[in-house]
Amino acid sequence: MAFRTLALGVAVLAFGSAAASARDLVVVGWGGAGQAAQEEVFFESFTEQTGIPLQQESWGGGYGIIKAKVGTGDINWDVVQVEADELELGCADGIYEPLDWALIGTEDQFAGGTASECGAGTLTWAFALGWDADVLPEGPETWADMWDTDRFPGKRGLRKGAKGSLEIALLADGVPGEEIYDVLATPEGVERAFAKLDEIKSDVIWWESGAQVLQLLGAGEVVMAAAYDGRLTMAARDENRNFKLSFDGALYATDSWVVLKGTPMKDQAMELVSFMSQADRMAQMPALLPYSVPNSEAMSMLTPEEASLLLTAPENSGNSIPIDTWFWVDNIEALTTRFNAWLAQ
Amino acid sequence: MSRSPFIRCDGVSKSFGASRVIDSLQLDIFQGEFVSLLGPSGSGKTTLLTMIAGFERPSEGGIWLDGYRIDDLAPHRRNMGMVFQNYALFPHMSVAENVGFPLRMRKIARSEARTRIARALEMVELGHLAERRPSQLSGGQQQRVALARALVFEPRVVLMDEPLGALDKRLREQMQLDIRDLHRRLGLTIVFVTHDQSEALTMSDRIAVFNNGRIEQIGTPEVIYDRPATRFVAEFIGETNLMTGKVAETGADGSVIALPGNTRIRVHQRLEPGVDVSICLRPERLHLGGKGGNVLSCQVTDRVYMGDHLRVALDGPDGTLIGRLPCSANGLRAGMPINASFTPEDCWVLPA
């Protein structure tokens, strides 16, 4: 509590309290190329059509940040792109405004719970195995290949954290995709995952942001990495690199838009979320940012070339695995502590 | 004397970039001598001292010590004691440690070093302050520590760079006598830099007067004072009345010099007629009355009572004269007409 008050106090002193009143609607994405695409497809045309001025900010996730913002009552963010576990946590904690799907009107187009009480799904990303085909012409196929340091010498990139890394380790160790969370739920399964990670510990470079992994791959610091599929495809296209992806065993999850509870701009925020949840609007995204979108109507509007690059394409989606949000909501603290202890050894 | 010089500076020049600070300088210093380098600031005297100490290298010429050329000898191997203007005591060492420093550097046994430190401190009467820090001492005490430190290792030469500049007048005069006393007792060779002419006159065996990187004159204090070689020396040392004129005639017992105001002054030097000269007359050589050979009728413009003498400003036929009169002339008042007189021997004639 006091920590939040402190953070607020510093924020107020730094920026002046006048900023809290009479401000523009603030939308918060994850920055980088992704937000640039969102700006083009969503934000600019929203302001054009409604006349509501938008201000953009970006963040890199972290439940503590939005929790502190709502907890202190100084809400200077309105619409935020969150990951699946932040969506579930915040919805359970009551820090998001419930969405009025009747008003948005596209609930039936969203599959698999991506139109939820507090969140409107906006893109589905995957940890997929990526590599530079100019460096590894006979590229790896599966996560097991990531462990094959004889065939593919060099460093590997993994996201620094328990989430994703443990699943990938189990998949590489031969656990079938549909069983990984059952295995991880047992102490033996956790042991097994860390034991598998031990095998390549000295060959791993841990990345922390989507831009960083592209930089590592681009500079040859790593020869292969678990990377965000859309960002990698985009980099390959825009920077003319020979990056390749394997969706075999890719782990995917959906990011959503939420509206922070108590915002003074609630009506405009809802209007923005509704605007960004319409099929014709969402259908324009994959051309710029090649992630699949959770709106099936929008997916059906894509050209075959656009669709073929995405996780959802029939030739790609064979055995990709959804990340179990509730497993991580329950276990993130314990497994993060364990992961950090393992990393520090 | 046919002694060979102990320190010899032969044709020494020093330039920093384009500016020539010392210009083909010639100076011999003999063993046991106290030589002052006297001059205004920027005249090159300190530069010469730092070259003798080895902190600067001559640009041209060479320096010899006891017959050996020392231009390439590092300062720490020259075995010269040095006393700095700001004393340069090591603030993190006690008085005894400061004085013992040269002995420590020479790896002299601890017990012997102790005796010598004690002796050096006794010599400057500071034995009771051996354990103090320099910051706990007065300026005069610090100066004496610096002196003890420069003497404790019995150096061949002691160099002093305006060592008394920071002391007040009383202490300064006391220290002048102390240093002179030490010089006599220990038979030291001392090179002493100062810009204070009275200090140089009091202490030195010989004085070298510096001006613009050159030595204007070298000589005993008497010679420098009474027979200055140039106008610069005459004006820099003590107070002087300078009268400029032309040699009118020369006879067996001296010459007559004509001043522009038609005054004629007799001097005992024999000079070439027609030459432009300056007459140097020290204020204390001026007397009241009509006797002495040269008499000028003047008017008193100012008088100041100085305690041991009376200082008067006189308006003479050829400008202002300054006189030092005995206090018995106390009756003088501004505006009074008087006769001022001096003998031909009181005058010293310089090239103009």
């Binding site: 008050t5 503590g64 907890g71 922390e208 509730w326 329950d330 | 720490h76 020259r78």
Partner: protein, 388 residues
């Protein structure tokens, strides 16, 4: 009398801004961090009914109907955000609370009157979850402070955490070790550089000074990026090392301890140099000349005169570098490997990712105590030096 009192009030009014400043920026943050580190009132606030009845339970048998009833009442009465805080706190202690509560809350909302908890989720029969709630009811706890030191309260009192969950002590030691190394490197490079700076004049000194100051005016993040490029696999540094050592294989620098040390030393070096330089420049030049005139060789003069006199600058520079290094975050995160992270990255992880402000505060408090202890040590040492 009144006059002197007015004067007193006026004097107080003059220092009031200072007192307020200190209170606002020094006392208050410290107090709030300290209270956050030990306060643990979320659970007690969210479960007032359960708190009244749970003490009668023995802790091993299945939960009593009274407890179940009280829990359901609490779920119905407590505000959603307060319950969210409590659940987050409980989940940091026992994994699974979140899904358990999510499911239970939904079921309780739908049902009217009494609810049979084990029929919603069989985990409610497990005493572990109830014991977790009971252990979290006291408003103050040493759990987070102990956790910051890899300790926990077990049956036999305070004990070490299992090794696979212990990381803080190791990271504290690593933080201190890396900071000490950076300090050492800064001193070894900074002293000669400061000496050079002190003896040069004119444009040479201007250039050297610029070499010190310009990096200091550049943001740490920008310098990080520069080092990222210099240290990378085919970067300048790797090339230089390859040329000098004659090795054919590239020496890895990026994402290694070496890289972190190089970059941290570069970032902290100006502070050391300026600290030593300020002491050297105030030192009369004649001291070194005096030492030489008394027969000290250059090395002896350095050891006996310059080094002791520069020591205050070296020590205060070392203190500055060391203390600042303790708090480094961005640089090791960008240039280091997994085992090069310092304690700040853990504080950030707990505060930003997990919203576990208590543990973040506890780690911060331990770091503060370590820092103060080191400063106290410095004070005692410098006092002793000054007395000598």
């Amino acid at each position: 009398m009144t006059g002197s009192r007015t004067l007193g009030i006026r004097a107080f009014a003059l220092v009031l801004p200072l007192i307020l400043f200190l209170a606002l920026f020094f006392v208050w943050p410290l107090v709030s961090i300290a209270t956050t580190a030990v306060s643990d009132n979320e659970v007690a606030r969210a479960f007032p009914n359960l708190g009244r009845v749970i003490d009668e339970w023995d802790g091993v048998s299945p939960p009593t109907p009274a407890m179940q009833e009280a829990l359901v009442a609490d779920i119905r009465e407590t505000a959603q955000t307060a319950m969210g805080d409590a659940v987050r706190r409980l989940n940091t202690q026992t994994s699974g609370f979140r899904s358990l509560f999510g499911r239970t809350q939904q079921a309780v909302e739908r049902a009217e009157g009494a609810v049979d908890l084990p029929s919603i989720d069989e985990r409610w029969e497990d005493p572990v979850f109830w014991n977790t709630i009971r252990s979290a009811l006291p408003p103050y706890t040493t759990r987070f402070l102990l956790g910051a030191l890899d300790l926990q309260r077990g049956e036999a009192g305070v004990e070490a955490m299992p090794p696979d969950q212990s990381v803080h002590r190791q990271v504290f030691l690593r933080t201190i070790g890396i900071s000490a190394l950076v300090t050492l490197f800064c001193a070894l490079i900074g002293l000669p550089f400061a000496m050079l700076l002190a003896v040069t004049t004119g444009w040479v000194r201007q250039v050297l000074m610029a070499a010190v100051l310009l990096p200091m005016w550049t943001s740490v993040l920008v310098r990080c990026m520069a080092w990222l490029i210099i240290l990378q696999k085919d970067g300048v540094m790797a090339e230089i090392i390859r040329t000098l050592s004659g090795l054919r294989e590239a020496v890895p620098l990026l994402f290694t301890r070496t890289g972190v040390l190089i970059a941290m030393t570069h970032v902290m070096l100006p502070f050391m140099i300026l600290s030593i330089y300020s002491v050297l420049i105030a030192m009369p030049k004649s001291l070194m000349m005096a030492a030489a005139s008394m027969g000290a060789r250059p090395l002896a003069a350095f050891r006996t005169v310059l080094l002791p006199l520069a020591m205050p600058g070296i020590v205060s520079g070392a203190l500055l570098v060391f203390m600042t290094s303790l708090g480094f975050y961005i640089l090791p995160a960008l240039l280091g490997g997994g085992d090069d992270q310092l304690i700040s990255s853990f504080v950030a992880n707990y505060a930003i990712r997990q919203a576990n402000w208590s543990l973040a505060s506890a780690l911060g408090l331990v770091l503060l105590i370590v820092t103060v202890a080191i400063f106290a040590l410095y004070q005692r040492l410098s006092d002793r030096l000054a007395r000598r």
